[in-house]
């Protein structure tokens, strides 16, 4: 019953997401496109951090890998952006596999530091390899379509997000998801009941890196200008905040967090750099009072409602 309700709810939201932008202007459409990008980023990071317990700081870097790979191939080799996005995704998966294998024996803070270092090294390379990446100036890349159309980009991003979320949903609810959570809860015990812990960890790294690369590639071709902002720690921490505020370790939490924070950001943009302060405060309040995020808050009050209904 709960599953049916959830499916119906999701279908309704999706239908709304299909129709809604037709009524909106260019600017809200842009906000929604960016939100969809963040929803993909936060949800895939959540699989890694919330389900296997590997708190990686290299997720934005993987998005950057996807964006720059596709962008450079399009600019230097004249490759079709769609093919470029696929190659970028594959390259991000490859690097994710390598990074995951490197971090195999690491847990907790050591894994975080290693991925942080990876992220910083990549950032430095991109900023300094001016001839290839155009450094902080940004790399101008062609769009996904001949003619620029906001609404088309919106539907492309929506389709991409649905694809990514469907894969994530399937993974979380399959045997793999149980293995992921077992590894997160207790690696030694997981091993003792037959879970191939190393394989599970590397798989999570590879798959989520591919997803970040895919999202980053599409995002770059939407912006038409790829800057080191994509593989930056700013973006990484935004993804982290969205996941934590939305509800880490739940499927819907990061999606809600991505939309909530990205839309909130538009409202507080006028305060300039102070909007980071607001982000930090929101994260602080959530961590203190609702550690399970917005989704946890909702779950907490839902049973009370149903109890009242029974009365």
């Amino acid at each position: 019953m709960a599953g049916k309700k959830q499916a119906l709810f999701s279908a309704a939201i999706l239908a709304g997401m299909c129709v809604l932008p037709l009524e909106l202007g260019i600017y809200p459409q842009h906000v929604l496109i960016v939100s969809l990008f963040y929803a993909m980023m936060a949800s895939s990071w959540n699989l890694l951090a919330g389900f296997t317990g590997q708190v990686s700081f290299g997720h934005a870097a993987m998005a950057g890998i996807g964006a720059y790979t596709s962008g450079i191939l399009a600019v230097k080799a004249g490759l079709n952006p769609w093919v470029g996005v696929c190659i970028g995704t594959a390259f991000a998966a490859l690097l994710g596999f390598g990074l995951g294998a490197l971090c195999l024996k690491m847990g907790g803070i050591y894994l975080s530091l290693t991925t942080l270092a990876f992220s910083q090294i990549l950032h430095i390379i991109i900023v300094n390899e001016y001839n290839v990446t155009r450094g902080t100036m940004g790399l101008q890349v062609p769009g996904l379509m001949e003619e620029y159309s906001k609404i088309s980009y919106y539907y492309i991003m929506l389709a991409a997000a649905v694809l990514i979320l469907a894969i994530l949903y399937w993974m979380i609810h399959s045997n793999l998801g149980l293995n992921f959570r077992a590894v997160q809860n207790d690696e030694v015990a997981a091993k003792s009941v037959g879970v191939k812990v190393l394989r599970v960890r590397v798989l999570a790294f590879t798959v989520t890196s591919a997803m970040a690369g895919f999202a980053g590639g599409l995002y770059g071709h939407y912006l038409l200008l790829i800057t080191p902002e994509i593989p930056s720690l700013d973006l990484q921490f935004k993804v982290l905040a969205m996941t934590v505020i939305g509800g880490m370790g739940s499927f819907f939490g990061p999606i809600i967090g991505a939309f909530a924070l990205n839309i909130l950001e538009e409202y507080i943009r006028i305060y300039g750099e102070y909007h980071v302060l607001v982000f930090g405060m929101v994260a602080l309040v959530v961590a203190r009072f609702v550690p399970n995020g917005l989704i946890g808050l909702w779950r907490k009050f839902r049973p009370m409602k149903s109890r009242e209904a029974v009365k």
């Binding site: 045997n175 149980l178 293995n179 959570r181 077992a182 997160q184 809860n185 207790d186 030694v188 015990a189 997981a190 091993k191 003792s192 009941v193 037959g194 879970v195 191939k196 812990v197 370790g249």
Partner: protein, 259 residues
């Protein structure tokens, strides 16, 4: 009356070996941590269908031997043979798939997962090709076996110590083991619960045909339950024998009580 039982037992073991009924064997298993020799040249055998107790004073190396056998630790030297295959240094997940399941001295449930999910993790890795309904059914069956089926929807962290031990037992059973390795499952139980647990473990052997290797400090429980006891002291096998032989042995008494 002062006969030394070890010779008899050693003779008996040789016959066993010829019939090759040993499910688990250790040959000169050693493990050292830096300069500390936790296990030195431990020889032992667990015959199919028996309950074998592993006893010894604190720090004797019982849990280290468990870890070295079950893949949590790599032995420094020596050989471990399980079900006629050399498994020395195999990782825990591989050993588990071959049919060796264990519980932990300090319980290690998947705290943020429900009891049902805890057991399902074990089942899906044993039967990866089976349907979800089969896995859930199997997990429920194992939970019912240990009397936890009513708590299946509760998260493991909500359980008390005794329930956590039962959950680990259900999880171990869901891996479809031939050999069940229990690490002090009776700790923290009262007399009545100990009596039930011992009866339960005997039933597992009698009805499911499991072989049991069992570390236990509660002597009153392990003595009547086990056919044979392996006594470890300071990382070495002090003696092997029936419970009656072991309690009468002067060396065992000395190891436990001192001079």
């Amino acid at each position: 009356m002062a006969k030394i039982p070890t010779d008899e037992v050693a003779g008996g073991r040789e016959i066993d070996k010829e019939e090759s009924v040993a499910l688990l064997e250790g040959h000169k298993v050693s493990k050292s941590f830096g300069g500390v020799q936790a296990l030195s040249q431990v020889d032992f055998a667990v015959e199919k269908g028996t309950i074998v107790g592993l006893i010894g004073p604190n720090g004797a190396g019982k849990t280290t031997l468990f870890n070295a056998v079950a893949g949590a630790l790599k032995p420094t030297s020596g050989r471990v043979v399980f079900d006629e295959a050399d498994i020395t240094g195999f990782p825990a997940n591989a050993v588990c798939r071959m049919g060796m399941a264990r519980t932990f001295q300090v319980t290690r449930p998947f705290a943020a997962m429900t009891c049902l999910e805890n057991v399902m993790v074990a089942a899906i890795n044993r039967y990866p090709e089976k349907s979800k309904s089969f896995i859930e059914g199997l997990a429920r069956e194992k939970l019912a076996l240990v009397g936890l089926v009513d708590l299946q929807a509760f998260e493991a962290r909500q359980l008390n110590v005794v329930q956590k031990k039962r959950l680990e037992m259900a999880r171990a059973l869901a891996t479809g083991p031939k050999l069940l390795m229990l690490d002090e499952v009776l700790g923290g139980l009262n007399t009545q619960e100990i009596y039930q647990a011992v009866a339960f473990i005997r039933r597992l052997r009698d009805e499911l045909g499991l072989t049991v290797l069992w570390i236990e400090h509660v002597m009153g429980a392990i003595m009547p339950a086990a056919e044979r006891l392996i006594v470890l002291d300071q990382g070495q096998v002090l003696m092997v024998g029936t419970p009656n032989e072991v309690v009468r042995d002067a060396r065992v008494i000395q190891a436990y009580l001192g001079e």
